[in-house]
């Protein structure tokens, strides 16, 4: 079982979109996938479980050894065969407040996820944007962290903080956490996007994936429709680039292989906003 966290201490960078799309693409390939929504805003849960009745979510795992239900009982199916979800509820915010300063609570999620090992190929953790109990649990459990970074100036400070956090968690655990920085929401029409991408390559080369995820309004449409982009707009440019990212994450193409805009021509038609 592989455990990937999608994390950044800055909000609005495309964490949920990245987690949802990668989870959908993995399931589409036949993998058994669990997507865990750790963000009290519950965006991923709203995206994929909007029509489902409210249930207890991932917060229940933090109830303590006696009160926590088996993690298997918290899983919910999605419209994509092979993809199950552990939803976030507003109660997660209370978990964060109540337990964030309690010693030893950083490994609750890792220990609980162990029960899924036999029947799960990939677990993707959609993380909250605040450094606290939930984010630490995710980073401590993850063998790989995907850090989406919006290609706008304020995002660089968030990336710097995120990398410091990863280094510190790694020191606590005696390991180096494998992290991938993925530029997102790239709009080639704007100077800001182009400049920030240059800065990313100049100042944060380590772990930087050479591709860029373009701005794509079809992804917003997919979330409004409550559908996975891989089925709602499989030929959109963003989904095409996410497919290339996944291929790199799976080792099917070199991590540092150049990714150009023309690498995914089969995913045409281009998104109208990007092509404008």
């Amino acid at each position: 079982m592989k455990l990937w966290a999608v994390a950044n201490q800055k909000g609005g960078v495309g964490k949920t979109t990245t987690a949802v799309i990668l989870a959908g693409l993995l399931a589409e390939r036949g993998a058994r996938v669990v997507l865990v929504d750790l963000d009290p805003h519950a965006s991923a849960s709203g995206w994929l479980l909007s029509g489902s009745p409210r249930r207890e979510g991932v917060g229940a795992l933090f109830a303590g050894a006696d009160g926590a239900p088996p993690i298997e009982s918290l899983l919910e199916p999605t419209s994509q065969p092979g993809l199950q979800m552990l939803r976030a509820t507003p109660a997660l915010a209370a978990v964060e407040r109540r337990l964030a300063t309690q010693s030893g609570m950083g490994c609750v999620l890792a220990n609980a996820l162990g029960a899924l090992r036999a029947e799960t190929d990939y677990v993707l953790l959609d993380c909250p944007p605040t450094l606290g109990l939930l984010l630490v649990n995710a980073l401590a459990a993850a063998e790989r962290v995907i850090v989406p970074v919006q290609t706008e100036p304020l995002a660089l400070e968030g990336l710097r903080r995120m990398r410091e956090t990863l280094a510190m968690i790694g020191r606590s655990q005696g390991r180096v956490i494998d992290h991938w920085t993925v530029p997102t929401l790239y709009d080639q029409r704007t100077r800001a996007s182009r400049d920030v991408l240059e800065l990313l390559h100049a100042d944060f080369p380590e772990g930087l994936w050479p591709g860029v995820i373009p701005v794509d309004t079809r992804l917003r449409d997919a979330s409004l429709a409550g559908e996975l982009p891989s089925s709602f707009c499989p030929r959109s440019r963003a989904v095409g680039v996410y497919r290339m990212l996944l291929a790199a994450l799976l080792g099917e193409r070199p991590r540092d292989a150049a990714v150009t805009w023309d690498d995914a021509p089969e995913t045409l038609p281009l998104d109208e906003e990007v092509a404008a």
Partner: protein
């Protein structure tokens, strides 16, 4: 120390993270299937500021494996040292050959080191030496990792190369066991 994105000094933040991962759990935090319960409890009892490493010898190279990654050590026959040979539903990676990048003569008997949290995998090495406790800052981490990502760093005081077992398994899974050599 309160959580949040403005967490004060780096030392204070590190202390907060150490505490949250807490009381030795830092070395044991990982996805387990519960089969390594004794090891987890033992790890919890350790000083959280130190991490345990098991020193091993493979093809005349001393290596260090995070103790939390080791399930239990067993002495097994030389047969398992053949790369990819499965015994008890476990795939044994010949660490000496992987380190040297070519087949290396196998010591007899060989020590099999099953990996905790990775039920299908284990390492075959020449010998087990000792378990040492080191603080994270005495490890020189290898960044960037380069082609062989599973060579994670060096514990200079023990002259041991730190192995990242998760990366090692990933290498074997992605490229095939022969490709990892």
């Amino acid at each position: 120390m309160s959580p949040g994105n403005d967490c004060g000094t780096p030392d204070a933040l590190q202390a907060y993270l150490d505490d949250l991962l807490g009381s030795g759990l830092a070395t044991a935090c990982g996805v387990t299937d519960g089969s390594a319960g004794e090891d987890v409890q033992a790890a919890q009892a350790r000083d959280r500021r130190e991490s345990g490493y098991r020193l091993l010898r493979a093809g005349s190279v001393k290596v260090a494996l995070p103790e939390a990654a080791v399930a239990v050590s067993v002495r097994v026959s030389t047969a398992i040292a053949e790369v990819g040979h499965s015994e008890q539903a476990r795939c044994w990676l010949d660490l000496a050959s992987m380190l040297h990048g070519r087949p290396v003569a196998v010591a007899s008997p060989t020590v099999g080191v099953p990996l905790a949290g990775a039920p299908g995998w284990g390492l075959s090495v020449d010998a087990e030496e000792e378990i040492v406790q080191v603080t994270a800052d005495t490890v020189t981490w290898r960044e960037p990792r380069g082609a062989r990502r599973w060579l994670a760093g060096l514990i200079e005081v023990h002259g041991a190369v730190v192995i990242d077992p998760a990366a090692l398994i990933e290498e074997a899974e992605v490229h095939g066991i022969q490709g990892a050599v």
